[in-house]
Amino acid sequence: MSKKKSNLTRRGFLKRAAVLAAAPTIVPATALGLGGSVPPSERIILGGIGIGNRGSHDLRWMLPDKDVQFVATCDPQKSRAEAVKNLIDTRYGNKDCKIYRSTPEFLAERTDIDAVLVTTGDRWHALASIMAMRAGKDVYSEKPSAMTVAEGRAVVETAKRYRRIYQTGTQRLSEGNFTFCNEMLRLGRLGEVHTVRAHIAPWDAAEMRHDWLPAQPLPPKDEVDWDAWLGPCPWRPYNAAYCRGGWRGFYDFHTSCIGEWGAHTFASCQVAIGAEKTAAVEYQYVPNESGDGMVTKFANGIKMILQRTGWRGSCGVKYEGTEGWVAAADGYSQPDVSNPAMLDDFKKLVGDYMARTQRPMSHVRDFLDCVKSRHQAVADPEVMHYSMTTVHVANICMWLKRDLKYDPAKEKFVNDPQADRFLSRAMREPWII
């Protein structure tokens, strides 16, 4: 690439192009020698992998940001890819959004894309993120972002290796009510915090399904690329229900009712108690189907209790200290507090947090800002990995039906080779990290 071109910004290029042509197209970042490092004044070129219902929500949060241009989507399911194309083309008033069916081909071909939104099913989150980061993309991945401890570790290492920005979709780390609760704890307003409570999904179970749905005729590869859909998971016969979201609850594809909301609430709790770069060390088995009431303990002595009921909304957290408690969940107009006077400082605390960390109260915007500033996002790979580690180990505790001790530094169980076997799963070829 010539030096002359690399000195030209995309914005400048677009201005010139506008003079030359009525409808200038997006200038690839790499064409200007800027790929992989979007300067603060530039637009972020975005692509998507596996965008379905949830991904469309994320996309709708991203699209209004004027410094984002979505250009292509990749999905082994044709119908989903076309739905995204329709959404994008309608928004931009053109037909430019490109469809790809193969993730490796998509990533290899679209060197112009700066960042990707990964909103596949859980089984693909880590793999797609790793592949994208290896290809030089920054990544916003939906949660739960890893199926095993080993996958999570690989995401962390890949992000560091290629200095990629990564954000996992635990958006409550960028919401006022939850931030207020975290700040109350951080500033010592709750006294000595001894217990935090994390909401787990009130449906499904910790025990997973291992059966196969009845085999149905395999659709043409052009409609559903079943091999790619399965990705790194063990093969099983096609059934359309999986592709409609019926993969939830299966061991191969899902992280149980604990991972469903624990991916959010464990991350919130761990960030609040300063345990975002570690995982719980003790897990007490509870003889029920969900893990409700499981007491986990961190090395700093704080207990985190998995709690299914007692919330007025979803994805709730509660922090209890010697001088009071605070709680937040989706649906709470303001945090629940042990003393109403605590709320007097709501704006101040959230505002101070934003000034101190330079983070907005928008998870998506935080990611986009970080793509430009090259500072890791609030839900960075390690926050994701360690909170998901607590999810995984809690699941393993339920599957083994006994108490467990885990060493977050070694990323192994304490003298427990049987439990260690759950820390990774062999990946199906060729979908090997």
């Binding site: 603060p40 030089g136 290629y162 990629r164 704006k347 505002g351 000034a355 101190r356 083994l400 759950f422």
Partner: protein
Amino acid sequence: MFKQRITLILLATALLSGAAISHGQTVVPASKQDELIAVLKSADATRKAKSDACRLLSFIATKKAVPALALLLADEELNHVARYALEPIADSAVDDALRDALGKLKGRPLVGVIGSIGVRGDTQAVKPMAKMLKSSDAMVAQAAARALGNIGDAAAAKALSGALSGSAGDTKLAVCEGLFRCAEGLVAKGQNRQAVVIYDELLKVKAPHQVRAGALRGAILAGEEHGLALMLESLKSKDYILFSAAVQASLELPGAEVTQALCEALGKLPADNQILVLGTLAKRGDPSAMRAIFAAAAKGDKAVRIAAIKAMPPIADSSAVGSLVELMNDSDAEIAKAAQDNLAALPGKKADDAVMAMLQSGETDWQLKALDLIERRRMTNVAGALLKATRDNDESVRTAGIRMLGGLAGAVKFSVLVELLLEAKSPAEIRAAERALSATCTREAKPSAGKVTIRRAVYRGVDGGGSADVTNKVAKMVEGGAFSIEASNANFGDAAPGIVKQLEVEFTANGITQVKTVREGQTVELLVGATPEAFIDELCSAQAKAPRRQKLALLRVLRVAQGPKAFEAVRAATKNADAEISSEAVSVLCGWPSAEALADVLKLTKTATDRKVKILALRGAIRLIPLQEGSVEKKLAGFKEVLPLIQRDEEKRLLLGSLATVPTSEALAMAMSYLDYAATKNEACFAAVAISEKIVGQKPAEVREALQKVMNATDNRDVTRRARATLNKARKAAGR
């Protein structure tokens, strides 16, 4: 033979289609290994059976299972599940088997085996896998490159290094990945020098941006003293990728010399690059950067200046105060606002002192900025200065001062706020004083149990299910002195097993009736806030001497304060000779929050001649009727009393919203009478369903008739769902 086959099939069925593969069991006992191996060997076992056997073996298999699993590696369908079981077995027999398979397989099975060797880190496999780097099958070459990187010994690194120049495209990227993994492994072992050799090699190679940037980061971090020099050099790079990689890497390098290097580079960079450095300086939090940050904030590109201003609070150094105060006076409004916003967030006493100096400056603009900052910084011990502000010559300063005194708990005595109202010179000041007094009444209201009467308490499933009338239980708890009651099965038994429950309590405290509902696990507080009597006395005394506008404001504050004395004062004011005052008092009376006003309000519904007052009274009556003490019949009588007076759709809807508080056949009939009118249909449906849910046990026939009509009339999904559920109960109740 046949018998043996049947036995195996039965075995597979028992092991795999029973508990082991359904909900409830992920793991089987180690003693099942032989049976699972037998399934693998069986010619009759299905793919599903063998897959399940492999999965279960992955948790319990030993060396004994290796031969049977190894046999499956060549099977395209079962290669993966065989590796699934093999990878976790801690025995070198697995490595031998995988290595042995390397020479026999092709295509995807070979890719899988290579991947598993990489996971296990088998150094003996380096030699055969090194040859595969040149495989014509790109998938194989790439898998070998990544696996060699995992093994990461000198031989693996050498093989990868040798393959780098001859590879292209995705294979080249895989070789780079392998080399990165080798270098990281070396750093982990403390062999940084050898790692830097690899990173340098990656830096020189013609590769995509992420490889170059990653290599630079690695070389800086592993390079120790040479790393810093490399970072300094890279900060001068015209290549934005290398520049930003160096800046990013600096975050991982501690030390004042790194901060200094970033500061020195700052002024010589293009705007985008400066913004990147400023953000990094903020993250580093090193106060030695402040001088460079001030310089960047003072002049130049606006985006850079704002980035510099934003970098100040994270560093939290008090030296930023002077700069921010100066910038608040900048001719560019955006810069001035950014400075003010960030001064609000800058911690420390020096910032507080600066704000107080602004307030005492005597200049209106600065005073208003100071008042804003006092509020945003939540500064306390500023009552004296705020009081002074309330006497300022400028109305906006006076108003802001009054407003802020009301927001600071306990800053001044209540009487001072009353005086501020009495002395207010403008409508804005009167409004501010009124709000300050109201806020203080609410905030200072002490939770008081007072005289608590439990009228009704129900513990029930949130979405139906069982329920229990726990009125007596709650009343006894209150008699025993408990005013905080937890909604729990421990207190009230499990009325709806498996369903989240809620506790609904209707109670009267200090003459005010309230209904509070909490979810299971939460606590309901049977307390009401009572404004201190002394406050109410001061408000009443002030009434006598207040000018007219202030009198009106005081009446509204009395409504917030509540209590018998406040009520009597308002009541008396309804007879005031001044029509404006009496009119406001009537308005306040109609909006009174507790049932003590009901008799007067009901009277007004009939006697008022002014249409506006009549409507206010009617609305007040509908709202207060359910709050009064007494039986359901008494409340129903109240509704019947006002029913003939209701003319407008607004009040009809209000009535329908209250009818569920009197769950009777008559109330249901009343609600149904509004079903046929478009303006009231929705509310009528809601009311009918809510009433029906409460009386379905006693009046199933009436409920059935009503809800069938509701189902036909409504298109609201929630109403339909609730109506259907209640209809089912009605049918069951009728069947009994």
